[in-house]
Symmetry: C2
Subunit: 306 residues, 2 copies
């Protein structure tokens, strides 16, 4: 198969885009697609500083790589949640360090155990009814937002790809969780002075495409899934969506993009579903929908009780 | 496993309802569930006449059986679309005849080839871009509505079960087809003098539950799927939903019922999505969204051109 752009031997065939590309053209095509997404969704402008949440995996390191290649001032943020099984957190952090060192890029580290006294698995164990994965999500969202606001970054970028977003959308559609459906977006504006703008520049790239990018760019990332993600519902939904994609190439993308379109055109969800009342946490000052303490601060109160 | 109601040996275990039942209790439970659905959705009242669209399959014959057992005045309607492969239409019709004869029930037959000159597969072949299945759906909807209106029936009941509805919902959600999402309902009111009220009394019963009902009631139905349904997208969606159900019993029901709830509560779809302008077909007088002829009448115009 030949590259559709230059006629050289293709290294990837993307049935969903009816497009085959060689290595060089592919490594240009991906950043171009990201740049178009950034512009189309008004994520951030060339003169704004961006913080990239990096886990050491293929998506977040590739996103950082792409933003740097596109000329953005992009710093990294690694949150060490303390997954000890097989030294998962240690290995991930090393991948981030090596990546940054090779590019002379700057990154911050939040070490949760050092700052709060417990790792995510430890604090999750104290909190009945909260899974490790949902605790990890809560902690990361809180800390990413704090560092992005404190550092005056214009936007906080995460490496969610199309498969990630489609799986979350699938989960929310299965329960018709209209509150979540209203808020799942490529850009979440900073609707509060202590809330960072959140952007997802990879939403138009399949997981497979990101894996190919990391591989062809020689990015050294952590291959293993987090040990706690095993058997996760999200992975099950991804598998169902992959079956759909296999039968009908492009189905995953159509599912996600037609959702965004229907909502944008006002054909989905009444206006009322879009508004959320935000207060401020009485301890950390971060915005919260709960009265009093935010969910993050309540998490550490559990610790004190024990 | 024991029957949860009477302690006898159970013949069916429904993980989705956490309920195991013996044959006698199951054959009572199914009509009770249908009766509750009829009342809850205000489908029809005991003194109203109902027309049941029967195909000869397990769902429609079971529905007819249940309505007769519940004491409703329910007549059948068989539409002979003319699927000749393996005498499919002939065999189906015979199942309907035997069922009606055994119960002294009344039914009408619409023979499409006799009335319009062509079978569904024949007319579909003349119409480029229209599949046999979609042509069949169009023809059946038109003729069911005509007979139900002409016969002054209060409602037209079809045997769509939970799996059918969930698969259609899944298809519409995958494309965020908000127009279809607005109209998929257990009851479609007669919003026009020439439009019959359409009701689906089996929407709270799984396909597997209906198969068990037909089997245990000794209903002789046509087992084969229509030969044209092979490889149909709906069957593929049903398979995906079955994988979901296998992992999380009740998921299919939650998907469908939480959709109805979100829409009922006004959390889904803006008000505008619910209104459709209806005109009247200049030939048959049936309501249509198209100007001039309705889709059914245009179908037979194609025939004349050839």
């Amino acid at each position: 198969m030949k590259c559709k752009k230059c006629g050289a031997t293709a290294v990837i065939n993307m049935r969903q885009h009816k497009l085959a590309l060689c290595q060089d053209c592919y490594l240009e095509w991906v950043p171009e697609r990201v740049q178009r997404t950034i512009e189309k969704s008004h994520m951030f402008s060339p003169n704004e500083r961006v913080m990239v949440a990096v886990s050491g995996g293929k998506d977040s390191l590739s996103l950082w790589d792409i933003l740097l290649r596109l000329g953005y001032e992009a710093d990294g943020l690694y949150i060490k949640v303390g997954v000890l099984d097989g030294d998962y957190s240690e290995i991930s952090q090393r991948k981030v360090e090596q990546f940054a060192a090779a590019r002379g890029a700057h990154f911050d580290v939040v070490d949760l155990a050092a700052e709060c006294g417990l790792t995510v698995p430890q604090v999750a164990r104290l909190k009945r009814g909260r899974s490790i994965c949902s605790t990890c999500g809560l902690v990361k969202r809180h800390e990413m937002n704090r560092v992005a606001c404190d550092g005056d970054y214009a936007a906080l970028a995460t490496g969610h790809n199309l498969d990630d977003e489609a799986a979350v959308l699938f989960q929310n559609a299965l329960n018709w969780a209209t509150g979540y459906l209203a808020r799942q977006a490529p850009v979440l504006p900073a609707s509060h002075p202590r809330l960072a703008r959140k952007v997802k520049p990879l939403i138009r790239l399949y997981e497979r495409e990101m894996a190919a990018y990391a591989l062809l760019r020689g990015i050294d990332y952590i291959y293993q899934e987090c040990p706690y993600a095993k058997g996760a519902t999200t992975l099950f939904y991804k598998d169902l969506l992959n079956q759909l994609e296999e039968r009908s190439p492009g189905a995953k993308q159509r599912f996600y993009l037609s959702f965004l379109q229907a909502r944008r055109e006002g054909r989905l969800l009444p206006a009322a579903a879009r508004d959320v009342d935000l207060g401020e946490c009485t301890r950390c000052g971060q915005p919260t929908t709960a009265p009093g303490l935010c969910a993050f601060c309540r998490l550490w109160d559990t610790k004190k009780k024990h």
